[in-house]
């Protein structure tokens, strides 16, 4: 007879959804299933889970669920159901990307919730940027770097897992040591499936021994610095280091981007086409399934996996390259700077295109050196990122966090009533101070000596409420009241979603 095991509900995207977190979760579930009876709550009821793991409709996941829950969240529009699940069934949350502003914006969260998230990150700047966003619709890339929107995840999770010390430190700097004391670092995981042999993969892709393959992978975004790689290749070709696509030892250079283009984020195809010399050796495959992606990574001589700026996000392609023993070039920044020097080549941010060009040329001349670095990466990954070890570390975090309290829903009963004197001197900082630290519904009475005085105030200060209320306050209703004092009674929703 088998002993009963604890149930674990894992809220996560899964394949066939086309993102790295779905692949990561599929692999992790395989490892976690050795410790728990796993169920996967997934918005796609037809998603693919490992054998023995049932896929659940998230709307019913609370039923028959035990206290153990794990949420997989990235800065991806498809992960809104995981955030909503975290609110109802708190547990351990893996933050694959500490910056969640894009997710919150695309999952339809109301402005005050986003404002509260901005305020939790950088209270001083949130007042200004939040008003630009709310009142003028100004939304820039700076917002995504400045405001991580991770405050709700930190407050509502029993523990938070990130993949690098950089990500943990970044959260700590933004939210303080107390709010991040429960953040643990668990490295990314090696894919559970065996990577294909290099020779077989190259044969399937029609690559001969003389081809030196530079690979990039995943969705093409600006932060992956394709501009640097294109410039590096273009310059190297122009200087004759790589003549007509061939190196001095006669190797033919090819660049394949194994992934899809998101033209709205970065026009990869157009950028390649603008450099005819690069276009002659480049190809973009479009989205690849796991097997085809593995073939490309195993067949490559070098995986170029750059990031700048980086908010601490992790890379599934890098994990696959480690597993395959493929040489990786990463940016010397953020989480990538933590990787051992003998496991990857770290490219400085200053002068990156030139250095990258020289590095690629050197590796193409001496592919054995690339193989050596790839072997180092594989040794590092086997020691730190093997699935059984990672799953055991998850188990430890889950078990240790079971009794940790989390921020819960607002207490039942009428919302609290705050009263502020609505004199002409009333300014936004006073209102913000009165509402600071509150979550959920709240009533705020802007008290006036009498109704004529209230009328004068609103005439003297057009747009009074918009100017007074902080970006984290949602105005649900207003009423003119006589009791308990004359004034304007505001029904507010503060902070995170209920």
């Amino acid at each position: 007879m088998t002993a009963a095991r604890d149930a674990l509900t894992v809220w996560t995207p899964l394949p066939p959804e086309r993102n790295g977190i779905a692949d990561y979760a599929h692999g992790l579930l395989t490892g976690l299933a050795r410790h728990y009876d796993c169920r996967a709550a997934c918005a796609d009821w037809l998603a693919e889970a490992p054998e023995g793991v049932a896929v659940l409709d998230p709307a019913l996941a609370h039923r028959a669920a035990g206290p153990r829950a794990l949420h997989q969240i990235g800065n991806n529009p498809g992960h809104g159901f995981v955030v909503r699940g975290m609110r109802r069934m708190p547990g351990v949350t893996t933050l694959h990307d500490p910056g969640l502003l894009h997710l919150y914006e695309t999952m339809g969260e109301p402005d005050p919730v986003i404002g509260a998230g901005m305020q939790a990150t950088l209270p001083g700047l949130a007042a200004v940027y939040g008003r630009h966003r709310r009142e003028d619709g100004v939304q820039s890339r700076a917002n995504h770097l400045l405001f991580d929107l991770a405050g709700e995840v930190l407050a509502r999770s029993r523990a938070v897992v990130v993949h690098s010390r950089f990500a943990r430190n970044r959260l700590r700097l933004a939210h303080g040591p107390a709010a991040t004391a429960h953040v643990a670092v668990i490295p990314h995981v090696l894919p559970p499936s065996r990577m294909p042999a290099r020779g077989a993969a190259r044969a399937r892709l029609g690559l001969d021994d003389d081809t030196f393959l530079v690979l990039t992978a995943g969705f093409a975004t600006a932060a992956k610095r394709f501009d640097w790689l294109i410039a590096a290749l273009d310059t190297a070709i122009a200087r004759g280091a790589i003549t007509r696509g061939a190196t001095t030892r006669g190797a033919r250079l090819r660049w394949i981007h194994a992934g899809a283009e998101r033209a709205e984020e970065y026009g990869l195809g157009a950028a390649i086409a603008a450099r005819p010399a690069v276009a002659a050796i480049a190809r973009v495959t479009g989205y690849l399934g796991a097997a085809a992606l593995d073939d490309h990574i195993a067949a490559a001589d070098v995986l170029v996996n750059l990031r700048f700026p980086s908010s601490g996000e992790s890379s599934g392609s890098l994990a696959r390259a480690f597993a395959a023993g493929t040489c990786c070039i990463v940016s010397a920044t953020a989480a990538y700077a933590e990787l051992p020097r003998d496991a990857v080549l770290q490219l400085p941010l200053t002068g990156a295109p030139r250095l990258l060009g020289e590095t690629l040329r050197a590796l193409a001349e001496a592919p054995a050196r690339a193989a050596e670095i790839g072997a180092g990466g594989r040794r590092h990954a086997l020691a730190e990122m093997a699935l059984p070890a990672v799953a055991a570390r998850y188990r430890d975090v889950i078990e240790a966090s079971l009794d940790r309290p989390v921020a819960g829903p607002a207490a039942p009963g009428p919302p609290p009533l705050l009263v502020l004197d609505a004199a002409s001197s009333l300014r936004p900082p006073q209102v913000a101070a009165a509402l600071a630290g509150r979550q959920g519904r709240c009533r705020l009475l802007l008290a006036a000596p009498d109704l004529p005085a209230l009328a004068r105030l609103t005439l003297d200060r057009p747009g009074l409420l918009a100017s007074l209320l902080p970006v984290s306050a949602g105005l649900l209703a207003t009423r003119v009241v006589l009791a308990p004092q004359p004034g304007l009674l505001l029904d507010l929703a503060l902070g995170w979603a209920a």
Binding site: W45, A54, D57
Partner: protein, 317 residues
């Protein structure tokens, strides 16, 4: 839980004009066997937020009535629909106390079906009521309900219930499978028992698509419940007896090359698709869980046509 199925079957025959509001959620033991029934919660504050969010998705009928007890505006719409016809008295099935929002309906004379013994409870507000004690279920797990109704109605309703019990027993294994007994104690007090002997027997559940509680954005049509562009559908069935049977959905407009998935309580079942005329049955063996409302689900795969219509649901051998 099989008592709910028996009781609903008897009461529908004895009180055909009544509109049932089953306030037994999150279990709602009568709902499935009373196709036009409304449903709700007697004590919504006790419901976990996730279950409240789940139940809040469902709508019923052409007016898209919601589950009672989750939202004051929705409750008003349910009450208006439930009490809108004098010729169709309201029957409230209550697991416990009467919700304050329903006090006016009770004072106005709504019939009450209370789980457990009502004899010791204070009398409900409104006109005086007679009582029919109802005992149902297998002999090992007898459930007691009290039907409170106008005193003058006790005798005729008791007689109709008795006849209905005899008819139902004939359909479900015959007289040897059931103990049926009861008597009119006084003009305002009666008792009736329908107790199963041996294997638990439950009437087969067959519901037209248009009568189902669903979470689609649209409304049912005469022929069934059109899915439109929706790729997924949840159906609130109510509390079901804990037994194994075949869960079947009859669907029109499917592409057999892209068969849909059938789910129960959020988990996919091993389903098969069987053609019958121009429609298909999507069916799978299933075991219902007691104590909570069962929820069936349907998921269409990518590329499936958009014109599917749910014609009927069955839970039967």
């Amino acid at each position: 839980m099989s008592a709910g199925a028996i009781l609903a079957s008897l009461l529908r025959q004895a009180l055909p004009a009544c509109r049932l509001l089953d306030l037994g959620l999150p279990a709602a033991p009568l709902l499935a066997w009373w196709p036009e029934a409304l449903c709700g919660l007697a004590e919504p504050a006790l419901l976990p937020p996730a279950e409240a969010a789940l139940l809040g998705r469902f709508r019923h009928g052409p007016r898209r009535l919601p589950v009672f007890g989750l939202d004051p505006a929705g409750d008003a719409a349910v009450l208006a629909a439930a009490a809108g016809r004098p010729e169709a008295p309201l029957l409230l099935a209550l697991p416990g106390a009467i919700p304050s929002a329903l006090a006016p309906a009770v004072e106005a004379g709504a019939l009450l079906l209370r789980h457990g013994r009502a004899a010791g409870l204070p009398p409900p507000p409104g006109p005086g009521r007679g009582r029919i004690m109802l005992l149902a279920g297998p002999v090992a797990r007898i459930e007691r309900w009290d039907l409170l109704l106008p005193p003058a109605a006790v005798e005729p309703v008791f007689a109709r219930l008795h006849d209905a019990a005899q008819g139902l027993a004939a359909q479900l294994g015959g007289g040897r499978a059931w103990q049926i007994g009861g008597r009119l104690v006084t003009p305002g007090l009666a008792s009736l028992g329908m107790l199963g002997i041996g294997a638990e027997r439950v009437p087969p559940l067959r519901l037209p698509g248009a009568a189902l509680w669903h979470d689609l954005p649209g409304v049912p049509e005469a022929e069934g419940l059109p899915l439109g562009a929706a790729r997924r559908l949840r159906l609130l069935l109510g509390g079901m007896p804990a037994r194994g049977a075949w869960l079947r959905l009859r669907l029109q407009g499917l592409d057999p090359a892209r068969p849909p998935a059938l789910l129960l309580d959020g988990v996919r079942l091993e389903a098969q698709l069987r053609a019958e005329g121009a429609a298909h049955w999507l069916e799978a063996p299933a075991r219902m869980r007691p104590g909570q409302a069962s929820i069936a689900g349907l998921a269409l795969p990518p590329g499936a046509p958009e014109a599917a219509v749910l014609l009927a649901l069955e839970f039967a051998a």
